[in-house]
């Protein structure tokens, strides 16, 4: 494509039937607790 560069393909709507197992970390969005917010469970490393 010449005019558009895709940075990320569709991901949210993949495997929606498997969604909601609930084993993931809880995530306080704010306050004194920094666990996870903008859609990230684990810290990314270099």
């Amino acid at each position: 494509m010449k005019h558009i560069k895709t940075i990320n393909k569709s991901t949210l709507n993949k495997d929606i039937k498997k969604a909601g197992c609930g084993e993931c970390q809880t995530s306080c969005q704010s306050a004194c607790k920094t666990s996870c917010t903008v859609a990230n469970q684990e810290c990314e490393r270099k």
Binding site: S10, L12, S27, C36, A39, C43
Partner: protein, 468 residues
């Protein structure tokens, strides 16, 4: 009249169903396809052509005629590319989630507890939502007996869930560290017997950290949050000792050592910014300069009437500061000064599933706070507010109807969130902020929304830069 309302509802649904969000940062045109999570960078022609599409993804030919600055061939190319992305479900994707909502919003089990190990603190921070540790009650420490019972309560209420989380919180949990250790010990024994897996975290102001405590935390805690607000003058103006002196000089070497010994992973150096330091980017960079690699600096929460809360008139300044920080962030990471800023972290490929993105923090349902006396609240921010008392660890959850309200709250049931493009990244914001500012956990706090949206935009822009 009824017909008109139906038509209106239909139109609104159409708009919500095919949502895209386009924005510019530092001259880059970004487009997010909300329902699929696809992210694109557009050149100027394609961006202007996209502006000629209606919100339901249909091209408006009249608008296209106004794009006289571009050659027809170029416009056609751009239309072709946009149409291709539509076909591939990467633009104007229709909402595929609504039919799954009932399954994702059914009653959940408890999977995380915030243990208020000490309702007492050795600092007197001006913005403390906990009334410097007291939470509108008296100063008190959690006993081992309450701690053990809390672990059992969590196991009993967690159903088939294997991974359970316990956060040691306060006040200041290091003021009652022996009890912390004994609770961990007890949970380890119980996890062997029950097949559960406990993950511990601790949130501390660092003041009482010594070598023994540090080693213990590094061996036993999955994550640790160390509080420091950034530059010395900023930190010391709010994070004060009881005698009024600052805490920076005491915290810094201890926090530094802790971060290094954890291999610069699984920790956060965490600051709060208020309307007194709207140039908080300088605090982030200050901590990066000090060598910290996992940094979080967040707007003060629930600070209504404190004089420190971020206000509408501050929004432009704060949003510009995020953009400025994003630029510097990309530069530094490119040039060997890598660090991670919590609010710019976004995992586009992985990240949590859509069910989790809808519900967010889980306060009041899967996440509860336990006071030193064993009372249960929706989260640490609600502790001490009697109308939110949800029972206690001995008798279990009570019939308080607010629990139902928490369970029903998600980005589809909150009107403002359902039409918001950021809903799958923000997950509906902080219920405590919503309640403190709007008196209703379903009405998100607007200032928080604006900041969150700007952070998501910055995070997406950073992804685009780093993929170039």
């Amino acid at each position: 009249m009824a017909a008109a309302i139906l038509v209106l509802q239909f139109m609104l649904k159409q708009q919500v169903n095919f949502m895209i969000h386009s924005f510019k940062i530092h001259g880059t045109n970004m487009v997010l396809d909300v329902m699929s999570g696809a992210v694109h960078q557009f050149d100027d022609i394609a961006y202007d052509v996209l502006g000629c599409y209606e919100r339901n993804g249909v091209l408006n030919n009249d608008k296209i005629k106004n794009l006289s600055q571009y050659k027809e061939a170029e416009i056609n190319e751009a239309i072709e590319e946009i149409e291709y992305l539509k076909k591939k479900n990467m633009l104007f994707t229709e909402d595929p989630y609504t039919e799954m909502l009932p399954a994702w919003t059914k009653q959940t089990v408890v999977k995380a507890l915030c243990l208020h190990i000490a309702h007492d603190c050795n600092l007197r921070c001006s913005y403390c939502f906990a009334g410097t540790g007291e939470y509108m009650g008296r100063r008190s420490l959690m006993s081992l007996e309450v701690g053990k019972r809390a672990i059992d309560f969590l196991i009993e209420n967690s159903g088939n869930r294997r991974n359970l989380e316990v956060d040691f919180f306060g006040g200041e949990p290091l003021m009652n560290f022996e009890v912390v250790k004994r609770i961990v010990e007890y949970a380890r024994v119980r996890e062997n017997k029950t097949g559960k897996n406990f993950r511990f975290t601790i949130t501390t102001n660092v003041m009482l950290l010594d070598e023994d405590k540090q080693n213990y935390i590094n061996e036993n805690m999955h994550n640790v949050v160390l509080s420091l607000d950034g530059r010395k003058e900023v930190n010391d103006a709010v994070r004060k000792r009881i005698d009024g002196t600052g805490s920076y000089d005491r915290i810094l070497p201890l926090a530094k050592k802790m971060a290094e010994e954890r291999g610069e992973q699984q920790y956060y150096i965490r600051g709060t910014f208020t309307r007194k330091n709207l140039d908080f980017g300088a605090d982030v960079l200050h901590m990066a300069d000090l060598g910290f690699e996992q940094i979080s600096v967040e707007p003060v929460v629930a600070a209504k009437d404190s004089g420190l809360d971020i206000r509408e008139e501050d929004l432009d300044t704060v949003c510009n500061e995020y953009e400025r920080l994003a630029k510097e962030y990309v530069e530094r990471r490119k040039n060997g000064q890598w660090f991670n800023f919590f609010h710019f972290m976004i995992d586009l490929e992985g990240g949590p599933c859509i069910a989790k993105r809808m519900r967010g923090c889980g306060s009041g349902t899967e996440y509860l706070a336990v006071t030193p006396e064993g009372e249960l609240y929706p989260c640490h921010q609600f502790v001490g507010h009697e109308e939110f008392l949800l029972g206690n660890i001995y008798d279990g959850l009570n019939q308080n109807t607010v629990r139902e309200a928490f369970r029903e709250t998600n980005v589809y049931t909150k009107p403002r969130c359902s039409s918001c493009w950021a809903k799958f990244y923000c997950s509906g914001g902080c219920a405590a902020n919503a309640w403190k500012f709007n008196n209703d956990i379903r009405i998100p706090y607007e200032i928080e929304c604006e900041l969150e949206k700007k952070r998501v935009e910055c995070a997406l822009w950073i992804k685009a830069q780093e993929s170039n």
